[in-house]
Symmetry: C2
Subunit: 139 residues, 2 copies
Protein backbone atom coordinates (compact mmCIF):
# COMPACT_ATOMS: atom_id res chain seq x y z
CA UNK A 1 0.00 0.00 0.00
CA UNK A 2 1.05 3.59 -0.45
CA UNK A 3 0.75 6.06 2.42
CA UNK A 4 1.41 9.59 1.16
CA UNK A 5 1.33 11.56 4.42
CA UNK A 6 -0.26 11.86 7.86
CA UNK A 7 -3.72 13.14 6.98
CA UNK A 8 -4.62 14.05 10.55
CA UNK A 9 -4.11 13.37 14.20
CA UNK A 10 -7.22 12.96 16.33
CA UNK A 11 -7.10 14.34 19.87
CA UNK A 12 -9.82 13.71 22.45
CA UNK A 13 -10.67 16.74 24.61
CA UNK A 14 -13.24 17.35 27.31
CA UNK A 15 -14.02 20.93 26.36
CA UNK A 16 -13.65 21.83 22.69
CA UNK A 17 -13.85 25.57 23.15
CA UNK A 18 -11.15 25.67 25.82
CA UNK A 19 -8.89 23.42 23.75
CA UNK A 20 -9.40 25.59 20.65
CA UNK A 21 -8.27 28.55 22.77
CA UNK A 22 -5.02 26.77 23.63
CA UNK A 23 -4.23 25.79 20.03
CA UNK A 24 -5.00 29.26 18.72
CA UNK A 25 -3.60 31.47 21.47
CA UNK A 26 -0.60 29.45 22.60
CA UNK A 27 0.42 27.40 19.57
CA UNK A 28 -0.68 30.05 17.07
CA UNK A 29 -2.60 27.75 14.70
CA UNK A 30 -6.03 28.78 13.42
CA UNK A 31 -9.17 26.71 13.68
CA UNK A 32 -10.58 26.70 10.14
CA UNK A 33 -13.65 24.51 10.68
CA UNK A 34 -15.93 23.13 13.36
CA UNK A 35 -18.03 20.15 12.36
CA UNK A 36 -20.43 17.80 14.10
CA UNK A 37 -20.03 14.12 13.19
CA UNK A 38 -23.28 12.64 14.45
CA UNK A 39 -22.57 8.94 13.94
CA UNK A 40 -19.39 9.29 16.02
CA UNK A 41 -21.18 11.49 18.59
CA UNK A 42 -18.48 14.15 18.47
CA UNK A 43 -17.95 17.82 17.75
CA UNK A 44 -14.68 18.38 15.92
CA UNK A 45 -12.41 21.35 15.33
CA UNK A 46 -9.78 21.40 12.58
CA UNK A 47 -6.36 23.04 12.39
CA UNK A 48 -3.62 22.63 9.82
CA UNK A 49 0.08 22.35 10.59
CA UNK A 50 2.09 21.72 7.43
CA UNK A 51 0.60 18.74 5.55
CA UNK A 52 -1.28 17.47 8.56
CA UNK A 53 -4.54 18.40 10.24
CA UNK A 54 -5.14 18.35 13.93
CA UNK A 55 -8.68 17.20 14.67
CA UNK A 56 -9.88 17.95 18.18
CA UNK A 57 -12.75 15.70 19.25
CA UNK A 58 -15.22 16.55 21.98
CA UNK A 59 -17.67 13.81 22.85
CA UNK A 60 -21.35 14.70 22.85
CA UNK A 61 -22.20 11.44 24.66
CA UNK A 62 -20.22 9.71 27.42
CA UNK A 63 -21.22 6.37 25.82
CA UNK A 64 -19.84 7.37 22.41
CA UNK A 65 -16.37 6.15 21.32
CA UNK A 66 -14.56 9.33 22.34
CA UNK A 67 -16.50 9.60 25.61
CA UNK A 68 -15.49 6.05 26.54
CA UNK A 69 -11.88 6.75 25.56
CA UNK A 70 -11.72 9.80 27.86
CA UNK A 71 -13.29 7.86 30.74
CA UNK A 72 -10.68 5.11 30.34
CA UNK A 73 -7.53 6.98 29.36
CA UNK A 74 -8.20 10.68 29.88
CA UNK A 75 -7.82 13.47 27.36
CA UNK A 76 -5.09 13.15 24.78
CA UNK A 77 -3.91 11.61 21.53
CA UNK A 78 -6.73 9.45 20.18
CA UNK A 79 -6.01 8.24 16.64
CA UNK A 80 -3.61 8.50 13.74
CA UNK A 81 -4.89 8.89 10.19
CA UNK A 82 -2.86 8.17 7.08
CA UNK A 83 -3.69 9.43 3.62
CA UNK A 84 -3.61 6.36 1.41
CA UNK A 85 -3.90 5.80 -2.32
CA UNK A 86 -6.56 3.19 -3.05
CA UNK A 87 -8.31 2.76 0.29
CA UNK A 88 -10.23 -0.42 -0.68
CA UNK A 89 -7.07 -2.23 -1.76
CA UNK A 90 -5.23 -0.99 1.35
CA UNK A 91 -7.95 -2.49 3.57
CA UNK A 92 -7.85 -5.79 1.70
CA UNK A 93 -4.07 -5.88 1.95
CA UNK A 94 -4.10 -5.12 5.68
CA UNK A 95 -6.71 -7.81 6.34
CA UNK A 96 -4.80 -10.35 4.23
CA UNK A 97 -1.77 -9.63 6.43
CA UNK A 98 -3.69 -10.39 9.61
CA UNK A 99 -4.91 -6.95 10.69
CA UNK A 100 -8.34 -6.80 12.33
CA UNK A 101 -10.48 -4.16 10.61
CA UNK A 102 -13.11 -2.03 12.30
CA UNK A 103 -14.48 -0.93 8.92
CA UNK A 104 -14.36 -3.51 6.15
CA UNK A 105 -15.47 -0.94 3.62
CA UNK A 106 -14.77 2.80 3.53
CA UNK A 107 -17.45 5.13 4.83
CA UNK A 108 -17.86 8.90 4.70
CA UNK A 109 -16.01 10.81 7.41
CA UNK A 110 -15.49 14.47 8.18
CA UNK A 111 -14.58 16.76 5.28
CA UNK A 112 -15.97 14.36 2.69
CA UNK A 113 -13.12 11.86 2.99
CA UNK A 114 -13.56 8.12 2.53
CA UNK A 115 -12.33 6.66 5.79
CA UNK A 116 -11.88 3.31 7.53
CA UNK A 117 -10.40 2.30 10.88
CA UNK A 118 -8.07 -0.55 11.80
CA UNK A 119 -8.43 -2.08 15.24
CA UNK A 120 -5.78 -0.99 17.77
CA UNK A 121 -5.39 -4.61 18.95
CA UNK A 122 -3.75 -5.29 15.56
CA UNK A 123 -1.76 -2.08 15.26
CA UNK A 124 0.32 -2.02 18.45
CA UNK A 125 -2.20 0.06 20.37
CA UNK A 126 -2.67 2.85 17.83
CA UNK A 127 -6.22 3.38 16.60
CA UNK A 128 -5.31 3.78 12.93
CA UNK A 129 -7.39 5.35 10.18
CA UNK A 130 -6.98 5.26 6.43
CA UNK A 131 -8.32 8.26 4.49
CA UNK A 132 -8.73 9.00 0.83
CA UNK A 133 -10.16 12.04 -0.86
CA UNK A 134 -11.86 10.86 -4.03
CA UNK A 135 -12.50 13.48 -6.62
CA UNK A 136 -16.00 13.42 -8.01
CA UNK A 137 -16.40 11.88 -11.41
CA UNK A 138 -18.22 14.12 -13.85
CA UNK A 139 -21.32 12.53 -15.33
Amino acid sequence: MELTHIEHIGIAVKDLDKAIGYYEKVLGVSCYAIEEVKDQKVRTAFFKVGQTKIELLESMDPEGPVGKFITKKGEGLHHLAFAVKGIEQALTEAEDKGVRLIDHKPRKGAEGLDIAFLHPKSTFGVLTEFCELKTLKKE
Copy 2:
Protein backbone atom coordinates in the same frame (compact mmCIF):
# COMPACT_ATOMS: atom_id res chain seq x y z
CA MET B 1 5.19 31.25 17.63
CA GLU B 2 5.52 29.61 14.26
CA LEU B 3 4.92 25.87 13.90
CA THR B 4 5.96 24.72 10.42
CA HIS B 5 4.87 21.07 10.47
CA ILE B 6 4.46 17.97 12.62
CA GLU B 7 8.06 16.87 13.07
CA HIS B 8 7.19 13.47 14.48
CA ILE B 9 4.68 11.38 16.34
CA GLY B 10 6.01 9.28 19.21
CA ILE B 11 4.44 5.85 19.71
CA ALA B 12 5.15 3.66 22.75
CA VAL B 13 5.53 -0.05 21.93
CA LYS B 14 6.36 -3.07 24.03
CA ASP B 15 8.45 -4.85 21.40
CA LEU B 16 10.28 -2.64 18.91
CA ASP B 17 11.18 -5.40 16.48
CA LYS B 18 7.62 -6.71 16.21
CA ALA B 19 6.26 -3.18 15.77
CA ILE B 20 8.85 -2.42 13.05
CA GLY B 21 7.61 -5.55 11.27
CA TYR B 22 4.05 -4.20 11.26
CA TYR B 23 5.02 -0.75 9.96
CA GLU B 24 7.23 -2.20 7.23
CA LYS B 25 5.26 -5.24 6.12
CA VAL B 26 1.69 -4.00 6.55
CA LEU B 27 1.89 -0.22 6.17
CA GLY B 28 4.77 -0.36 3.69
CA VAL B 29 6.96 2.33 5.31
CA SER B 30 10.68 1.71 5.74
CA CYS B 31 12.57 2.00 8.99
CA TYR B 32 15.54 4.24 8.16
CA ALA B 33 17.20 4.43 11.59
CA ILE B 34 17.30 2.75 14.97
CA GLU B 35 18.75 4.82 17.79
CA GLU B 36 19.19 4.40 21.53
CA VAL B 37 18.37 7.50 23.61
CA LYS B 38 19.98 6.68 26.91
CA ASP B 39 18.70 9.57 29.02
CA GLN B 40 15.12 8.65 28.05
CA LYS B 41 15.82 4.92 28.53
CA VAL B 42 14.38 4.04 25.13
CA ARG B 43 15.26 2.39 21.87
CA THR B 44 13.70 4.21 18.95
CA ALA B 45 12.96 3.34 15.33
CA PHE B 46 12.24 6.01 12.71
CA PHE B 47 10.01 5.99 9.66
CA LYS B 48 8.98 8.85 7.39
CA VAL B 49 5.50 9.44 6.02
CA GLY B 50 5.33 12.66 4.00
CA GLN B 51 6.75 15.52 6.12
CA THR B 52 6.38 13.64 9.38
CA LYS B 53 8.40 10.98 11.12
CA ILE B 54 6.96 8.15 13.13
CA GLU B 55 9.17 7.44 16.13
CA LEU B 56 8.53 4.08 17.78
CA LEU B 57 9.72 3.98 21.38
CA GLU B 58 10.55 0.80 23.27
CA SER B 59 11.37 1.25 26.92
CA MET B 60 14.59 -0.27 28.18
CA ASP B 61 13.51 0.27 31.79
CA PRO B 62 10.00 -0.12 33.28
CA GLU B 63 10.78 2.88 35.52
CA GLY B 64 11.68 5.10 32.54
CA PRO B 65 9.10 7.57 31.15
CA VAL B 66 7.93 5.28 28.35
CA GLY B 67 7.90 2.22 30.62
CA LYS B 68 5.66 4.04 33.08
CA PHE B 69 3.40 5.25 30.27
CA ILE B 70 2.88 1.69 29.00
CA THR B 71 2.15 0.42 32.51
CA LYS B 72 -0.48 3.12 33.00
CA LYS B 73 -2.06 3.46 29.55
CA GLY B 74 -0.80 0.58 27.43
CA GLU B 75 0.93 0.76 24.08
CA GLY B 76 -0.05 3.56 21.74
CA LEU B 77 0.28 7.21 20.80
CA HIS B 78 2.70 8.82 23.25
CA HIS B 79 3.64 12.34 22.17
CA LEU B 80 3.24 14.93 19.43
CA ALA B 81 6.23 16.94 18.23
CA PHE B 82 6.00 20.18 16.32
CA ALA B 83 8.81 21.70 14.27
CA VAL B 84 9.08 25.27 15.49
CA LYS B 85 11.10 28.28 14.37
CA GLY B 86 12.95 29.75 17.32
CA ILE B 87 12.54 27.14 20.04
CA GLU B 88 13.79 29.35 22.91
CA GLN B 89 11.29 32.10 22.11
CA ALA B 90 8.52 29.54 21.66
CA LEU B 91 9.19 28.16 25.16
CA THR B 92 9.21 31.64 26.68
CA GLU B 93 5.98 32.50 24.89
CA ALA B 94 4.27 29.28 26.04
CA GLU B 95 5.34 29.82 29.64
CA ASP B 96 4.22 33.46 29.55
CA LYS B 97 0.80 32.20 28.45
CA GLY B 98 0.53 29.86 31.42
CA VAL B 99 1.86 26.58 30.02
CA ARG B 100 3.84 24.40 32.42
CA LEU B 101 7.15 23.42 30.84
CA ILE B 102 8.99 20.15 31.41
CA ASP B 103 12.14 21.57 29.80
CA HIS B 104 12.81 25.24 30.39
CA LYS B 105 15.68 25.17 27.93
CA PRO B 106 16.15 23.07 24.81
CA ARG B 107 18.26 19.93 25.08
CA LYS B 108 19.63 17.55 22.47
CA GLY B 109 17.24 14.83 21.35
CA ALA B 110 17.34 12.09 18.73
CA GLU B 111 18.71 13.00 15.30
CA GLY B 112 20.56 16.05 16.63
CA LEU B 113 17.44 18.15 17.12
CA ASP B 114 17.06 20.73 19.85
CA ILE B 115 13.98 19.61 21.75
CA ALA B 116 11.85 20.58 24.74
CA PHE B 117 8.65 19.16 26.20
CA LEU B 118 5.52 20.90 27.48
CA HIS B 119 3.63 19.26 30.32
CA PRO B 120 0.44 17.42 29.28
CA LYS B 121 -1.42 18.95 32.25
CA SER B 122 -1.15 22.27 30.39
CA THR B 123 -1.81 20.98 26.88
CA PHE B 124 -5.14 19.18 27.19
CA GLY B 125 -3.54 15.80 27.83
CA VAL B 126 -1.11 15.76 24.91
CA LEU B 127 2.56 15.39 25.80
CA THR B 128 3.82 18.05 23.40
CA GLU B 129 7.36 18.53 22.10
CA PHE B 130 8.94 21.43 20.28
CA CYS B 131 11.82 20.58 17.92
CA GLU B 132 14.24 22.68 15.94
CA LEU B 133 17.07 21.62 13.71
CA LYS B 134 19.79 24.24 14.04
CA THR B 135 22.31 24.29 11.26
CA LEU B 136 25.90 24.44 12.46
CA LYS B 137 27.60 27.77 12.14
CA LYS B 138 30.89 27.63 10.28
CA GLU B 139 33.81 28.87 12.31
